[in-house]
Amino acid sequence: MTNKKMGGWAGKILRVDLSSGKTWTESSIEYGQKYIGGRGIAARIAWDEIPPGTGPFDPENRLVFGVGPLTGTSAPNSARTTVCSLSPQAYPYEWFSYSSVGGYWGPMLKYAGYDAVVVEGKSAQPVYLWIHDDNVELRDARDLWGQGTFATQQHLTRKHGSDVRVLTIGPAGENQCRVAIIATGAGSAAGQGGFGAVMGAKRLKAVAVRGTQGIPLAHPEAFSNCTLSITKELQATMGCPEKPELDPHKVRDFGQRHVACSQHCASPACWVSHSYSKVPGVLHPEREYSGTIVCESVIFGGVPETFYDWKVGFQAGFELAQISQDYGINHWELGIGMGPWLRKCHQEGLLKDLDGEPFDLNAPRCWDTLFRKVAYREGIGEALAEGTVRAAKILGLGEELVPEFYTAWGFAGHWDGHGDKINVVIFPYWLVTALQWAMSTRDPMSSGHGYAQNIMNWSLMRSPREGLDWETLADVGAKVYGTRQAVHPASGYEAKAYPAVWHGHRSVMKDSLTLCDQIYPRIFSNKTADHFARAANGLEGPSFEYHMFRLATGMEISKGEFEQMAERVFNLERAVQVRNWDRSRDVDEQVIPHFDQIENWVNPFLGQGMGLDRERFAKLLDEYYTLRGWDPETGRPTRARLEELALSDVADELAERGLAE
């Protein structure tokens, strides 16, 4: 590498010890060249620095804000930040997990010169971290403690300039709610994982950044030509061919418009992200709300003709999305998990009211009350702040009703055909999701979107006008997964392990480069004769990540070697789980009971609802572990595979602990 042009990475990792108040930097390049960036760098830090027995609220826990070699460049949909830490939300294992957040913060961190910020220790007083290029300061945040995420951002941008970007927690994070988010803007958050509570425990209120520098590119001209070509391919909508239109009434009344939820979004018509201005409040008629809402925050208004059809209405729903963002609470947990679970408890007569206040999800007031109780741990909120799965145990309330809504690891259903009742996915596609859940530390989105959501949204079931028929989907699938059976609706358990492995690697690439999870990998298209995505410059959709990485960083590696970098990260994450939580096949199989139930939607090819066939799924797991080079008995990575992936030191430590041969 020494003689070649290098770029992509900013070059430094910022280290912050809140206990001593010290900050320092180290080179990020060695990390990046081995683990890509973001989630990959975080995995190495977890392996090196988080010993077994550490909990999320311990000072020894690391909180990593990671960006990657593409963040802040013209690579389309590249502005994500991956937050990694021990997860307060995860249950029963508070293991090392990850969450992605969009907006403008990640690029700004890159422009300031950093590929990651790693926070350890615990501050005696509330502080915020103020990064402006090479200057890094821990500042007193006692006057910000107690403020919402909106007021905190406004305060810090007034103080440091309107171009400053802020990640912050609200009261929920300060009060160490296990469903607390880290927020930026009016609608972006690292939601899943409860990492807001980790910031709360460390007494880190916010991280404000201004970066005025540039990110070098190894091959600027070729890179920009490549990103332009890929941008054109992406200007279809998200993993869905049908372009949603703006609602003329909402355009007139509330200024509805398409908006990028993150820097470099090339798909402004993405139906999950809309901006509104000056929407009058319903709960607080004296207020007006402006900002963006994305998929899960739309839930608060209720979604007609679905399970989530409460009658809150658009205006109050928008207001509730902002109120909960301001408190810093996880929208998905509240809207898809806790709210529906409480409603079920209420319907079954197990829950009378919320500490004397009426329980009725059709009433905006009820949601508002719920948010407040969770954020401030008031009354029943003391337990609910622990997240639904723990709360049910603490309260002895509706424990048997939890599995209907919660798939595994303390997380509500998500593209699995069983837990959530809004993301339409049918057998056999949720088999791949089940494998992804089995291997994950959270809901496995960033690999689940790429397979189940992508296929379903491109099917005629979900996109009757612009979608593709099942046979065409299978034909395109063969180009990616090697066989039509990986995508054919009548394929059953055949060829489902390979897509789970393949998308597992895409998941690492997305969270490490960093790229948007809704957009990548590109597979299907309406612009090519064979419906396989290709850019105008001839690059095939699934290779977009590789080519942008290569041209930005200057690393002269093959597609196979890039795939291996992602596989290295996946194995390193697994090694952390094996070493710190004794992760094994037995643990993975804890997801099985959830999938036993009959699915929420029916495959039209089969004409009847399906549940999991345990015997056949066991064989699928065998197939998965074998493809991964993991021992099918124990589910642990083998020494041979770890050595192939240049992780011999990891194999050695596992062997010392009796966890590898």
Binding site: Q153, S162, T184, A186, Q213, L217, S224, R257, H264, P268
Partner: protein
């Protein structure tokens, strides 16, 4: 000094209602002109106030009587009759900053690396910001058919609104 009669300038136009504030134009401009991804080295800026605040764009209007050119003591900003664009001659510019003071649109800045005036040069015909804009919020106006260097937006079946309009006005 601006009394010379020039051809009508070609310029970029920003449609606030279409802009998604994705910043692609800002970064691609810096990449095109400096080989780096940056906001600070771009000749177009999208300013976004968060959370949920207003947004605006700062970019060169290629004024007919350009105050930047008039303010330059070195006459380093000259109208290029072929491109119909005001260009900074970096060999002549001293980085004194008087053009920046003169510009009513905040469209010129001193490049933080070179220390010289940096303004939109329409990519000498390629207008990368317009090409990459995913929302057609940026268009080229005043485009005449006789100007051969401007590229057509790839993959777009119809010319973006405003492009047609601009060409029409120019006839």
């Amino acid at each position: 000094m601006s009394e010379t009669v020039h051809a009508k300038p070609v310029r970029i136009h920003w449609d606030k209602n279409k802009c998604t504030t994705c910043m692609s134009c800002v970064v691609v401009c810096a990449e095109r002109h400096t080989g780096m991804s940056a906001l600070s080295r771009s000749r177009i800026q999208i300013r976004v106030d968060l959370p949920g605040g207003d947004y605006t764009a700062e970019y060169c209007r290629q004024c007919k009587n350009a105050p930047c050119a008039a303010a330059c003591p070195e006459e380093a900003i000259q109208f290029d009759e072929r491109l119909r664009t005001w260009l900074v001659d970096e060999d002549v510019c001293t980085g004194c900053g008087q053009c920046i003071e003169a510009c009513p649109f905040n469209a010129i800045q001193l490049d933080p690396t070179t220390g010289l005036a940096a303004k939109c040069d329409l990519c000498l015909g390629a207008t990368r910001c317009v090409e990459i804009c995913p929302a057609n919020a940026l268009v080229v106006k005043g485009l005449a058919l006789s100007l051969p260097v401007l590229s057509v937006v790839e993959g777009s079946k119809e010319p973006a609104e405003g492009q047609t309009e601009g060409a029409g006005n120019d006839k």
